[in-house]
Amino acid sequence: MSIISRGFRGRGHEGPPDRVPPGQYLTDDFPVLSAGPTPHTPLTEWTFTVTGGSEPVSWTWDEFRELPSEEVTKDIHCVTKWSKLDTAWHGVSVDTLLDAVEHDAAFVMAFCDGGYTTNLPLEDVTDGKAWVAYTYQGEPLDPEHGGPARLLVPHLYFWKSAKWVRSLDLRDEDEPGFWESNGYHIRGDPWLEQRYWGD
């Protein structure tokens, strides 16, 4: 039974229950979480690739920026319990990227600079549910938050919104990524509180 420390309070606050999933609290700042050093790929060398389809498709940074893109305002939920409402992003829908490829895959694995990976079922990244975002709050995405571009899958826990994303590999089988292979839930739906294996 832990000792309660008089006068100590956590910083988070509660929010509207229809927007804050179970076990989460609201934060005003934007915590930076990282499992390794921040990569710094020059934009002249940056490419985004979709593999696993009939043939690989790749865009340079300039080509990527010319793809149809959109503003996205979403709530985000980190498995470490903070949630942030109405975050504003700009990026390319994953639907646009996958439309460039012929495939019949059921899953994707995201690969990132620095070696991070995360896996998702196809239906969690299609039909307007996922983006590759390069702008946050009107500014180019900061490297510490995943810039130049990160995956954005706001309806799942934010570890799925992989920072420094460089490619999506289309697959028939689901294989766990970096955190999914070490305790975190294979899918990660915050409304079902799917934080860990077996939740």
């Binding site: 832990s2 000792i3 309660i4 420390s5 006068g7 100590f8 309070r9 956590g10 988070g12 700042d29």
Partner: protein
């Protein structure tokens, strides 16, 4: 036996604040009493855990400032967006309780003795574990030649200032103030660099032992500088403090 607590399972102990000393505007030392505390070695730290009424918990590590044998004391710097440090520095008072576990650390420890000289390099609140070493050295009457190079932002930020103004025999204290210096300041006035290390550090040939503590950037700069002077990397022990509190 002090030090035996180094090994074995750790449990959370109830600690009570029995005294508080404001060291600088943002830094405070808390003297603690904890049932079951078994003593420590100079350089070790404790984990502190705070629990709020709603069950929310936060945990951070703080270095022990006291020497082995003295009442247990931790020195904490309040960080602007910290979660635990603002509570410990600005809120907690005598009689308040929280949980600690420790002592922790078998690498960044010095028993204050030995023939080869010792170089201690501190950045900001990184001076805390080194102060435990300095105090232990003094209490044991050690003759090990020791130098402290201590970097702070300004004169007001120098922790243990009065104590360091009267160093024990065989301890030399070098200070640098990186942001502002008082009139008549005779110490260094810039961030540590290779030139400063060249002037303060023992020659590598004397095979000194080194302990460096501070922010990651500070520690890496100091360690790289010493390696550049010919110090074998294994002679340098480092502890990086995070900027969260």
């Amino acid at each position: 036996m002090a030090g035996a607590a180094l090994l074995g399972r750790l449990t959370w102990l109830a600690a009570e604040v029995v005294d508080a000393v404001q060291e600088t505007p943002r830094v405070r030392t808390l003297v603690l009493e904890a049932d079951g505390w078994d003593g420590h070695r100079a350089g070790q730290h404790v984990d502190v855990r705070l629990t709020a009424e709603d069950g929310y918990q936060a945990e951070r590590s703080y270095s022990i400032a006291s020497a082995p044998g003295e009442p247990l004391a931790v020195t904490v710097e309040e960080l602007e967006d910290g979660e635990v440090s603002p509570y410990l520095v600005s809120e907690a008072h005598e009689g308040d309780r929280f949980e600690i576990r420790g002592p922790i650390g078998g690498y960044f420890v010095w028993d204050g003795s030995g023939e080869p000289p010792v170089l201690l390099i501190a950045g900001g609140s990184g001076v805390v574990p080194l102060m435990s070493m300095i105090r232990h050295r003094a209490r044991t009457g050690s003759r090990t030649p020791t130098r402290l190079l201590y970097s702070s932002r300004s004169y007001e930020d120098v922790i243990y200032r009065a104590e360091l103004d009267e160093p024990a025999d065989g301890l030399e204290v070098f200070q640098t103030l990186t942001r502002s210096q008082p009139p008549g300041w005779a110490g260094y006035a810039r961030r540590i660099d290779a030139e400063m290390l060249g002037e303060v550090a023992w020659p590598a040939a004397e095979e000194p032992r080194v302990f460096v503590c501070g922010s990651t950037r500070f520690v890496d700069t100091a360690a790289d500088g010493l390696v550049g002077m010919g110090y074998p990397p294994q002679s340098i022990r480092t502890e990086r403090f995070g900027a969260t509190g």
